[in-house]
């Protein structure tokens, strides 16, 4: 079990390294002169030349990369072109903000999706309704849903705040948006797994032991449903992250996603690269966490990681 985890960790490190290389290379595919980006109003070529020298832009590619990688390992993600601050200091405080939103979103999608799935399995009449809801949710792009919720709850009903910020009141709508978008997947998984469980031999054994329906659901069936749900969370992380970025833009939630998008528009490349690298690390890390969690929930997976 430990060996499998270490193997996963290794893959993760390689993946992050790959992302770093790609992000770095992208820098050189980008049209435009970084020196000009930093000092747009500088006219004299001497100033631009000195900026380029400072950034080692005249050195061969490998040297620049080694330089960058070296500072990366020391925790230095570079300096923003525009804001005169280190990238790390800009990203750092926002990590927690995005983390809170991400966590709230995952809870929302598991709860909403799980409830839909359980209802659809247990109550045949509800199944068609749940299918229709699922289909609708799948057809809405995340930002449209976010805006619709903002419109209805923020403006028309005035029960949610409409200005940006990171408070608990502002958390509701973005988390709900993430939750609703992810719900159909979890509903499907939960419904499938529940159907398998309910038809299984061990549920029949539980019935033969005279256990009540609600006890069986709670103590036997739900445990078996958890494992595929957690797997899904792990697999889902990449696209979930994208959703978080979009939601941050829609609701002006001051997290890493909003920072990345704004920096992209400002052509502040160091920040973009920094956020992409941090994002890659986060995905790898949480995938590992999901794997570990899954091992606790489903004892069978320990050996086959």
């Amino acid at each position: 079990m430990a060996r499998a985890l270490i193997r996963r960790l290794l893959f993760g490190v390689i993946a992050v390294a790959g992302v770093v290389v790609l992000a770095f290379l992208l820098e050189f595919v980008v049209p435009g002169d970084p020196a000009k980006a930093i000092a747009p109003r500088a006219q004299s070529p001497a100033v631009l030349a000195s900026i380029r020298a400072q950034l080692h832009l005249n050195q061969p590619l490998i040297v620049q990369f080694a330089d960058y990688f070296g500072s990366l390992l020391r925790g230095n993600l570079g300096t923003s072109y525009i804001q005169r601050q280190s990238v790390a200091s800009l990203i750092g405080p926002r990590l927690l903000t995005t983390g809170v939103l991400a966590l709230a979103g995952v809870v929302a999608e598991v709860v909403i999706g799980g409830t839909l799935g359980i209802l659809a399995t247990l109550y045949g009449r509800v199944r068609a309704l749940v299918s229709a809801v699922n289909l609708t949710l799948l057809a809405i792009p995340i930002f449209v849903l976010g805006l619709l919720l903002l419109l209805v709850f923020g403006f028309q009903l005035a029960v949610a705040p409409v200005t940006g910020g990171a408070g608990p009141a502002q958390l509701v709508l973005p988390a709900l948006t993430l939750g609703l978008i992810g719900a159909p997947w979890y509903a499907q998984i939960v419904a499938d797994q529940m159907q398998d469980s309910l038809a299984s031999s061990y549920v029949r054994t539980a019935v033969s032991k005279g256990l009540s329906d609600s006890y069986i659901l709670r103590r036997h069936v739900l445990r078996n449903v958890l494992s595929p749900a957690i797997t899904m969370i792990g697999l889902d992380l990449g696209s979930y992250l994208s959703g978080v970025v979009t939601v941050e833009v829609v609701f002006v939630w001051p997290g890493i996603g909003l920072l990345a998008v704004d920096s992209l528009h400002n052509l502040d490349r160091p920040i973009v690269m920094g956020t992409v690298i941090v994002g890659a690390i986060a995905v790898v890390f949480f995938n590992l966490v999901a794997d570990v969690l899954r091992m606790f929930v489903d004892p069978r997976t320990g050996e086959e990681l």
Partner: protein, 359 residues
């Protein structure tokens, strides 16, 4: 009159049980009794209805199955009980041992907990008490280091141990009836022997009655007191095990035994005896006796009239559903009986009966 302790109510009494899955009539008019402390083997091929009968008696069939008839466990008429009422008394009346222990145990719950919940839910024990009781139950089925095993998950146990866990669960509350659905079929021969020995001991100690479903005549010979043979949804023969083995009345039973005899004692290289043909599916039952198309003794009557279950032979309780029941493999004896019957009919009624059988 079935053997067993006559003072105690029979462990199981099934009367006129019918099981239908939609248009398919899987079990027809079954009547069966398991005496207190008695082991009754229910023998049949796949599709004979034996599992349906046992599951119907245990109320473990899906709700799409239509079950009619009466079922009494330890003297209590349980067919009259509603769903939740039955659930409450279920564990103390009836234990079930399933065929595939790997599938029948919850893969994500330790086995100790799965045994313990019986005590926690039905015997009102607290969590630690139930855990101890579970360990004791595991020890009773001769699992060594029961406390350590209780913490393991089903997939970490061997097949034999899983089966022992199932037995422990079934016997936890010492119910008067245990329904076992081919519990040794999935095990290798040596494990099977161990489990059968275990059952023998437990049975001596616990006085529970067993309804043991199997298609293996060897298991029947070793374990059962009474045997009932099913074919195409009907009980076609039942009686004490030694009578069934030595002097079977129904041609199907004779066929089953002949198959086994050849396996045991046939000459090497000689072809094995086979009952030719295959059993009818529940949707394709022929008129008359369902075994007639394969029966060596079939006559015109057999294809027209479905024989009722009637006493056969001299031993009390031995019944067979056959127009031409045999008394063992002795054909001459059968012929004598037939001749005597024909003679009696002639003597008693000058009209006689046309087309009676001659063996």
């Amino acid at each position: 009159m079935t053997p067993g302790q006559p003072e105690q109510a029979p462990a199981l009494e099934i009367t006129d049980l019918n099981v239908r899955y939609g248009p398919v009539h899987a079990v027809r008019d079954a009547c069966l009794t398991v005496g207190a402390g008695q082991v009754v083997a229910l023998i049949g091929e796949t599709g004979s209805g034996k599992s349906s009968l046992a599951l119907a008696a245990a109320r473990l069939l899906p709700s799409s199955a239509a079950v009619t008839g009466q079922v009494a466990i330890a003297g209590r008429d349980v067919s009259a009980l509603g769903g939740s009422a039955f659930r409450r008394v279920r564990a103390s009346l009836l234990g079930c041992i399933a065929q595939d222990a790997m599938a029948a145990l919850n893969p994500v719950v330790p086995v100790g907990r799965q045994v313990g919940e019986l005590f926690a839910v039905h015997a009102g024990m607290s969590r630690p008490q139930a855990a101890e009781a579970a360990v004791a139950a595991l020890a009773q089925v001769e699992i060594r280091h029961p406390a350590a095993v209780a913490r393991l998950y089903p997939h970490q146990l061997s097949g034999g141990m899983r089966q022992r866990v199932m037995i422990a669960m079934a016997m936890a509350l010492a119910p008067p009836l245990i329904v076992a659905d081919e519990p040794t079929t999935a095990l290798d021969v040596s494990t099977q022997a161990e489990i059968l020995a275990l059952i023998g001991e437990l049975r001596a100690r616990m006085r529970s009655g067993f309804l043991w479903i199997t298609h293996d005549m060897g298991v029947v010979a070793e374990l059962a007191d009474w045997a009932a043979v099913m074919y195409a949804g009907r009980i076609v023969e039942q009686g004490p095990v030694d009578v069934i083995f030595d002097a079977p009345a129904h041609p199907y039973t004779e066929g089953l035994l002949a198959t086994r005899r050849d396996l045991r004692s046939g000459a090497p290289g000689a072809p094995l005896f086979q009952i030719r043909g295959s059993p009818p599916g529940p949707a394709e039952l022929p008129p008359g006796c369902p075994f007639a198309p394969r029966c060596p003794r079939a006559t015109a009557t057999c294809t027209e009239v479905d024989p009722p279950l009637e006493p056969a032979g001299s031993t009390g309780g031995h019944e067979a559903a056959c127009h031409h029941p045999g008394t063992g493999a002795d054909q001459k004896a059968g012929a004598k009986v037939a001749a005597a019957e024909a003679g009696a009919a002639e003597a008693g009624d000058h009209l006689g009966t046309a087309g009676t059988v001659t063996l």
